[in-house]
């Protein structure tokens, strides 16, 4: 833990606030967030009203009286709301089955479901486009044959299709959040319920579910924001079916290339921001407080529910789900990467090739972008974890006033749609106010941190809260310094969470698209942008190869870490 060098000895000493390192840490974190998050966002709002220098609602009138924008607003709200509902409806039972029951192969399933979080969502969109397009989608064709239908049962280029793909790729956000809460939930209440004669289902309904409610709300929020601020999926699935969303409109406006276009983009972005903040406010302040009452700090292993005669049918159901939502799309992508003519079966003669795979390892631009992404994602994850650790210590181990301020700011940051963060940084960080980091990797790292730091922070907080301070106290009573007890007691105990948190920040940064689309420059192109460009501009097979390679690397790292930590760690 980084703050260790500055932190004080454990004894409570009376001193002035400015000499207390805790305050200095808070001030540093708050300062960073004020400059790079709060100020740019406020400036964005300011710009929307003062685009011409004086106060004017012209831009608002222009943007919000335009029917196409209205339909985009409505589409965004509908698609994000339904993705949120379905996402949680899928994630909660899955998290429970994987975390708290004797489901067959639950470890495998856990990795598989979390893996979806590690895959660029727009790659999945391409797979679904191929599977469910109304004219020749292979899954549609298959269903028509099996059920003797006269027309395609599904059309992916529709609002329904958009919700389906958004759900399929954003429910892992909910799954991760809910699983984590379930793991640290105090099982004694459930035990009490069981002992009193309630069956597992009743226990689930009357004890587990209510206790999980704050986490479920937090998970729902994450899915909502992710779905509302996604660009890749709507641009691939929605736009061809004339289903526009706020993000696709914003990026269209930016691409029109005029000053007016930029103002319109800003004005539209303000809407997204307001929606996100309202949702965030509601969830944090109506339910957030409960979390600290229901979740105990004790680290006990939750009891495992025996599924009994349902074990096999439920496992079959989960397999079916995994097949449809994860495996088939991934396999489609992997097969595309070795197919020359996507209109012919991959195994027909002369249709198989490794040339796209060769490309991803030889193209200069791909290698450069990979390098950039590796650098930015490693930096964002590392700095993010440093801040996360400090914040976790402040939140869990201290009662210092004001520790909730940076916590709140980090939560707001992650709740702000990506496109809004990127736009606000462009406008405020290109030299106008003394800081010019536009067109650098730094601006990307900052944007990534603002957006994804919370995933890391929550992980560390939950790990730290499971560790009773008595262990640290015991170490210190035995004569170890604060630093030493941190190193020998606390750190080893939360190490798996640190690695997991690091990856939770690293992965989405590694293939980030929406912010990179706006922030990239000549020599700061990222893998996400590159992949998207290949997918939509140059060559889809190359994009598929790249996506499959990312998938292999993710699974490889996961497997390796699992081996090295004797199963203690998995993403």
């Amino acid at each position: 833990m980084r703050p260790s060098t500055q932190l004080a000895p454990p004894l409570m000493e009376h001193r002035r606030w400015f000499s207390d390192p805790k305050w200095i840490i808070i001030i540093l974190i708050v300062g960073f967030l004020l400059v790079f998050q709060v100020f740019p966002l406020l400036y964005l709002v300011f710009r929307a009203f003062f685009s011409t220098g004086t106060f004017s609602l012209d831009a608002f009138k222009r943007v919000y009286t335009y029917p196409l924008n209205w339909s985009a607003l409505v589409n965004t709200l509908i698609s994000a709301t339904f993705s949120m509902i379905f996402g949680v409806l899928i994630a909660f039972p899955l998290a429970w089955l994987v975390g708290r029951t004797n489901l067959y192969g639950k470890k495998f399933f856990r990795t598989l479901f979390v893996a979806t979080y590690m895959v660029p969502p727009y790659v999945g969109a391409m797979a679904w486009m191929r599977l469910l397009n109304p004219n020749v989608g292979s899954m549609n064709m298959f269903l028509m044959k099996v059920f003797h239908l006269s027309s395609s049962p599904f059309n992916i280029y529709s609002l329904g299709g958009l919700i389906w793909v958004l759900t399929g790729f954003y429910y892992p956000y909910a799954f991760i959040t809910i699983s984590r809460a379930m793991e640290k939930m105090d099982p004694s209440l459930e035990e009490a319920s069981r002992i009193s004669g309630a069956n597992p289902l009743t226990t689930l309904r009357t004890i587990t579910l209510p206790m999980m409610l704050p986490s479920i709300v937090a998970a729902a929020l994450l899915v909502f924001i992710a779905a509302a601020s996604a660009y890749g999926i709507p641009s691939i699935i929605g736009v061809p079916g004339q289903v526009h969303t706020v993000t696709t409109r914003i990026i269209d406006f930016v691409y029109i290339g005029s000053q007016e276009g930029l103002t319109d983009a800003t004005t539209l972005a303000v809407f997204l921001m307001i929606i996100a903040n309202v949702v965030l406010y509601l969830s944090t302040f109506t339910l957030g407080k409960k979390q600290y009452i229901t979740v105990s700090g004790k680290s006990t292993r939750p009891n495992i529910v025996d599924l009994g005669k349902w074990r096999i049918p439920i496992t079959a159901l989960v397999i079916f789900f995994a097949l449809i939502v994860v495996i088939i799309p991934f396999v489609t992508v992997a097969l595309s990467s070795i197919t020359v003519n996507l209109g012919e079966p991959v195994f027909s003669s002369g249709n198989m090739t490794l040339r796209y795979w060769e490309r991803i390892f030889t193209r200069k631009s791909i290698l450069n972008s990979s390098k950039n992404s590796l650098i930015t994602a490693v930096m964002a994850a590392t700095f993010g974890m440093v801040i996360s650790c400090m914040m976790a210590y402040l939140l869990v181990r201290t009662k210092i006033k004001g520790r909730k301020i940076p916590d709140f700011m980090i939560t707001v940051g992650s709740g702000t749609p990506s496109v809004v963060i990127a736009l606000s940084l462009i406008m405020s960080m290109s030299g106008k106010f003394g800081i010019n980091i536009y067109n650098t990797l730094t601006i990307m790292v900052i944007a990534y941190m603002i957006k994804y730091m919370m995933m890391g922070m929550r992980t560390v907080v939950s790990a730290l809260s499971q560790i009773s301070p008595s262990l640290e106290e015991a170490s210190q009573i035995s004569g170890a310094s604060w630093l030493r007890s941190m190193k020998n007691v606390t750190l080893p105990l939360i190490a798996p969470a640190l690695v997991a948190g690091w990856f939770l920040i690293f992965m989405p940064c590694f293939y980030e698209l929406t912010m990179s689309t706006l922030l990239y420059s000549t020599n700061t192109k990222t893998l996400g942008y590159e992949l998207y460009t290949y997918q939509t501009y140059h060559n889809q097979q190359t994009a598929s190869a790249l996506a499959t390679a990312i998938l292999f690397i993710v699974f490889g790292i996961n497997w390796l870490l699992n081996k090295l930590t004797d199963g203690e760690f998995s993403i």
Partner: protein, 346 residues
């Protein structure tokens, strides 16, 4: 702590093995005359850039030439932002929209370069040397003979938008991001009026890039697409694809894409000497040979060959729909907005 450090190291190692493998730069030898860096923004496809880049490395071993690609519209947005910030990111531009050359010349960011063989050019060029055409891209139609008959499909741009038998199964590029698509909708607006956009919207045309559209032809998801000839030719040669070009009966839209250099005041590397050499090379026989090899037509009247599987340039020029370049600059935003409105409607 140690354990964690080891994990991170393992990961870093893995990452660098997988990705950074080929990223090492080759050291540049001492240059006698030409040298330095040269950054070119271009809308050419990646495969084309890769091929040309390799040749350029052989021809100009002392210049560090780097390409940055993006759709013309994407690059225009980028350049607009860069101009607002007071500094351009590129030394040269090879985008697909000739009207943009007129605009940039007007803005005073271009460097005049006089070449010796300008008289050989078969197309208009700037007499002051601010821009030259360097490659010909042709907007055409394409279909998949493996799935449909040419006789059953529309063979003209007009029918592409008005023939209901292909409704919902047609695709074209986005004029917001592609320069040739912008020139195309400009030419078609001049010929058929803004109603043409409405017709496209009613036809439920899908707006996506050429490579996505080609895949949709292969799979049969689309019957007919509006696309650049070069993309089809490339697919025919590289992938042995059966997809065929239809040269529209109402005329092909011919887009002579310009090459331009940014003047020292605006360019990042202030390397106008190298820019001149590269411009001359592209317009030389050797340069044009590379253009033709990259499935585009040559701009030189002395270069008679057509790209792989294409009909001769002359034959294409016999039946074209002209583009009014000045008008395209003036009406760019209006056309983009009108087009958006028409095709984005449900």
């Amino acid at each position: 702590m140690k354990k964690m450090f080891v994990f991170l190291c393992v990961f870093m190692l893995l990452g660098s093995l997988a990705f950074a493998g080929g990223a090492a730069e080759t050291p540049k030898g001492a240059s006698d005359e030409l040298g330095g860096k040269l950054l070119i923004y271009t809308s050419m496809y990646d495969d084309v850039i890769e091929a040309i880049d390799e040749t350029l490395e052989d021809v100009f071993p002392t210049i560090d030439i780097e390409f940055f690609y993006g759709g013309t519209g994407t690059l225009q947005a980028k350049i607009a932002a860069e101009i607002a910030a007071g500094k351009l990111g590129c030394d040269m531009l090879m985008v697909a929209d000739p009207s943009y050359a007129l605009e940039l010349k007007g803005m005073g960011v271009l460097e005049p370069i006089m070449i010796n063989n300008a008289a050989d050019l078969a197309f208009d060029y700037d007499k002051d040397g601010y821009w030259y055409p360097v490659r010909i891209s042709n907007m055409v139609l394409a279909y998949n003979p493996g799935k449909f008959n040419k006789a059953d499909l529309p063979n003209s741009f007009y029918d592409f938008a008005y023939d209901k038998s292909v409704a919902g199964m047609v695709s074209m590029s986005n004029p917001l991001t592609s320069g040739t698509a912008l020139d195309t909708i400009s030419a078609l607006k001049d010929k058929y009026g803004y109603e043409y956009y409405t017709a496209l919207g009613e036809q439920k045309v899908k707006i996506e890039s050429g490579s996505v559209a080609l895949t949709k032809l292969e799979t049969g998801e689309c019957k007919l697409i509006m696309i650049l000839e070069e993309s089809v030719l490339q697919k025919r040669e590289m992938d042995k694809s059966k997809i065929e070009v239809i040269y529209p009966t109402d005329g092909t839209i011919v887009v002579p894409s310009p090459i331009m250099s940014i003047n020292d005041q605006w360019s990042p590397n202030k390397n106008s000497k190298a820019a001149k050499a590269v411009t001359e090379w592209f317009l030389s026989d050797e340069g044009q040979e590379n253009i033709v090899k990259a499935w585009m037509h040559s701009v030189s009247s002395k270069y008679p060959e057509a790209p792989y599987d294409a009909i001769p340039t002359k034959q294409i020029l016999e039946n074209t729909i002209p583009v009014d370049w000045e008008n395209t600059v003036a009406l760019r935003e209006e056309m983009r907005t009108k087009f958006q409105e028409a095709v984005a409607k449900k």
